[in-house]
Amino acid sequence: MNLTLHVWRQAGPNQPGKLEVYEAKHVSPDQSFLEMLDEVNEELIKGGKDPISFDHDCREGICGMCSQVINGVPHGGQDRTTVCQLHMRTFKDGDSIFIEPWRARAFPLLRDLVVDRTALDRIIESGGYTSCHTGGVADGNAILIPKPDAEYAMDAAECIGCGACVAGCPNGSAMLFTSAKVAQLAALPQGKAEAAQRVCAMTESMKENGFGNCTNHYECQAACPKGINVKFIAKLNREFQKSLFE
């Protein structure tokens, strides 16, 4: 199939950018979205033009590097699917596709579709860990954790930190990302000890790093390729209230 791509091109931070039009010809429906872009880039390079810069790494939907807003939806809108796992069979011959970078103040644009997402790492640095020693493998099994709690924590730990929640949020808030880590650790005995400091430090870091506030649009959950649920934001809100009394 043949497609018309409208891709955001920007040479660098603080440079003017605009949507440029490219034709993607003879695209196989079995190709992934990134493979389609690879071929467009090969044609650009052959023609002596700058290829489109975009982030990618594992290409199997687990690393959280790919970060493109496709037709106005982070990761393209297929349920629980990252851009790299989005296949061209979801498009039709002759489609126009708009490809834009994550947009948020906290994610400064570096080039074309590549943004700097280290602000998410800084939120984790502020408290997304446990500072107690949890021992080796055998010691780890010595602390019994009820199955539902372990499942709950694992569901929250599924976050791959791609930033789609921020890109989709009308407020540029990282509340889903932050809450996933707060909820994951607060559900486990090793994490409970520091739960109060953690929720305050991480939400404060979110604010300091230029993210907005959550106003319950739930756009984040809809955009999340891992299906992280907004129930974790409710959990963060409960943890915050508990911290007020500690």
Partner: protein, 219 residues
Amino acid sequence: MQLLTSSVGRKILMAITGQLMVLFVIVHLLGNSTIFIGWVNAYAEHLHAMPPVVWIFRIVMLALVGIHILFGIQLTLENSAANPQGYAVNNKLKATFASENMIWTGLLLLAFIVYHVLHFTARVTPDIVKGVDALGRFDVFTMVVSSFQHGIIAVIYVAAMVTLFLHLSHGIQSFFQTMGWNNAKSLPVFSKIAMVLAVIFLLGYSSIPLFIVTGILNK
């Protein structure tokens, strides 16, 4: 201090002040409904027989409105600064017209509240008929009916109630999420309850100007 400065703290204050105002919206609707069974003059008389209670109530309401507006504006400014550049193609999956326009429906409601207080509380607008009924009580019924017989005033009130519907259809369910009282299963249930409540407020409040302007309820 966390409550006044942090992202979550201010959100909780917005939620609590908002929900206390929803309680007022419920009580106000019950009070209004006495107009249909002819008790509105008696209701108003009883209410105003207790000036200290009325004034404490008004001061509390003013504080709630003030906190809600102050943090509402502050958070909205912060949020739009955090998302300075939109997308060329904007496709929202979950956000609604109501959830994205809380600041505007909120400010419209503020304008309406100012008008409403000048209209039926301070009674300084030109359409107001001030009289007493056969029992010597202030005639609220005649005042309301003669006001809403002006089509434009009825339209303003109904439009304000549509705005209230939009604001609360997002606001009530949002309260449960912000307080952390829901989980994945109960969130859709609370959303439906919120929508039903918002529709009840819309129909309940709008019925008075609509019944009057159509002549079903008259002097």
